[in-house]
Symmetry: C2
Subunit: 291 residues, 2 copies
């Protein structure tokens, strides 16, 4: 039989406003990146958001040339950027989830993400599935599962960009009871058939619906060293349908007011439940290896 | 490290035409169901298809009232329907993948699917994830993974309807080297936000793109005992984009000519491969349980 996900013991608030902030960080402009993030968070908070998502590597930008540049830009978890986000979260009673180029105590660079609330830094995560140049610039992949944190504004999981394309990874967060999965991303712009919604968003929709879980993705925008970005920030509901308009390719903050408690109900028919219907004993590969 | 999927030793044909046949089976009309399937297969073959997909439970229809009716309608694997499909496959050199209400040798009913080629019945499968009324009508769930079969027209995996909504299950077929995943389905019609593509199709797109594998889904149409059906038959490419127009809610045969060999290349960037990038050792739940 399948396991049931943990469920919070009692009901909380009914609705919360979530913001995804599509900003344009730039490699080499630490002060500017910090300012862009602050301005976006303040605007989102002013519009009533209590959960604010920023893009991947929001403190540094993305397009590094080599390991030296990355190591010089990455920051420790007790540095100025995290302190600023802690101040913002405390002042506005926010949950902030953001991508963060982390300089570890081991001297290595991680494509990390953090969850900060009014009490401070609650959880950190290091991207487990690295994308393309991240492998050559010297990012070290993480080995720990995506965190799921009980906050005053909901039970929130998070992971980074390409991680979202591994349904097994998304499932871990969902089975740990995430009502909302936050995804800081930097989605490179690729061609797609005319009239088609970008595949990255399609995959987010599937992540949400196969788990009956809300998903909020903050993408970046702007061109950086010739790299164009999709700018596909979106919030999707637990049925997998977008609830925010797309602002492809430009700076924007999108917000949606969600009843996260809906994600605790995994039923999709009289006799079906997207988690209880799983048959994990069958999901091993022949030979007993984990699939 | 991740395992590599098996790859066929040498290249085969380059392109094959695949047809998804959206027909309208009816409970209680065995002869009519057999005729509808034959007419559709012959039309698809006449249009050049060599892989033909029929809907879930194509031999019986779907909306049973109880176990007695189901058991009376289900057929053994050596019955007239399979024999007809074997004749059609031999005559036209086809691979036929169809849903099939199977009466097992154990006297139980299974929501099965079969793969038949010019040499006869190659593989059978019993739906592992049952949908709603299937649980009360007395279908027994299967316990075996989705088959993946080397055929003259490509390496083909298959599973049935709700199975497709479990990314772990789809992954098994993909890791076993399926170039094309065929899905006989019966998708009930549900409301959806205006302008949105049905979530069932969105999830198929994700199934395809996270595995770089083609997917061909044959849905049913027609109203049966008051039940409306989506009629969402579709073929999607290995990037997850549809390559056939939708014919929602009416009988239709859609075809696409695919180069299935494309699905053997899992690379999506200079340094990324959707299967090699998996980190299965991390996909276990805390406590070592299979996620």
């Amino acid at each position: 039989m399948s396991q049931q996900p943990p469920r919070p013991a009692e009901p909380r608030r009914t609705a919360v406003t979530v913001a995804v902030c599509q900003i344009a960080p730039q490699v080499g402009d630490t002060a500017g990146n910090r300012r862009r993030a602050r301005v976006a968070v303040e605007e989102a908070a002013g519009r009533g958001a209590r959960i604010v998502v920023l893009p991947e590597l929001a403190n540094t930008g993305y397009v590094f040339t080599d390991a030296d540049e990355l190591l010089a830009a990455a920051e420790p978890l007790d540095g100025d950027t995290i302190r600023q986000w802690e101040d913002l979260a405390a002042r506005w009673d926010l949950v902030i989830v953001s991508g963060f180029a982390e300089l570890g105590e081991d001297g290595r660079a991680y494509n990390a993400a953090v969850l900060i609330d009014a009490t401070g830094l609650r959880a950190t995560y290091r991207k487990a599935h690295l994308w393309n140049g991240e492998k050559t610039w010297g990012f070290t992949p993480g080995d720990a599962p995506p965190p799921v944190v009980d906050t005053a504004h909901g039970r929130i999981g998070f992971m980074v960009c390409y991680d979202l394309e591994f349904p097994e990874w998304v499932r871990l967060a969902a089975l740990a009871g995430a009502e909302l999965l936050c995804g800081p991303v930097n989605w490179p712009l690729y061609p797609r058939p005319e009239g088609e919604r970008p595949g990255e968003i399609v995959r987010i929709q599937a992540d949400a619906s196969v788990n009956r879980m809300f998903v909020a993705v903050a993408d970046r925008t702007g061109t950086e060293r010739g790299q164009d970005w999709l700018g596909g920030s979106v919030i999707v509901d637990a049925d997998g349908y977008p609830v925010t308009p797309l602002h492809l390719g430009r700076e924007a903050i999108a917000t949606a007011t969600l009843d996260l408690a809906e994600a605790r109900d995994k039923a999709i028919s009289e006799h079906n439940d997207v988690h209880a219907d799983r048959r994990p004993a069958l999901y091993a590969l022949p030979g007993g290896k984990q699939s």
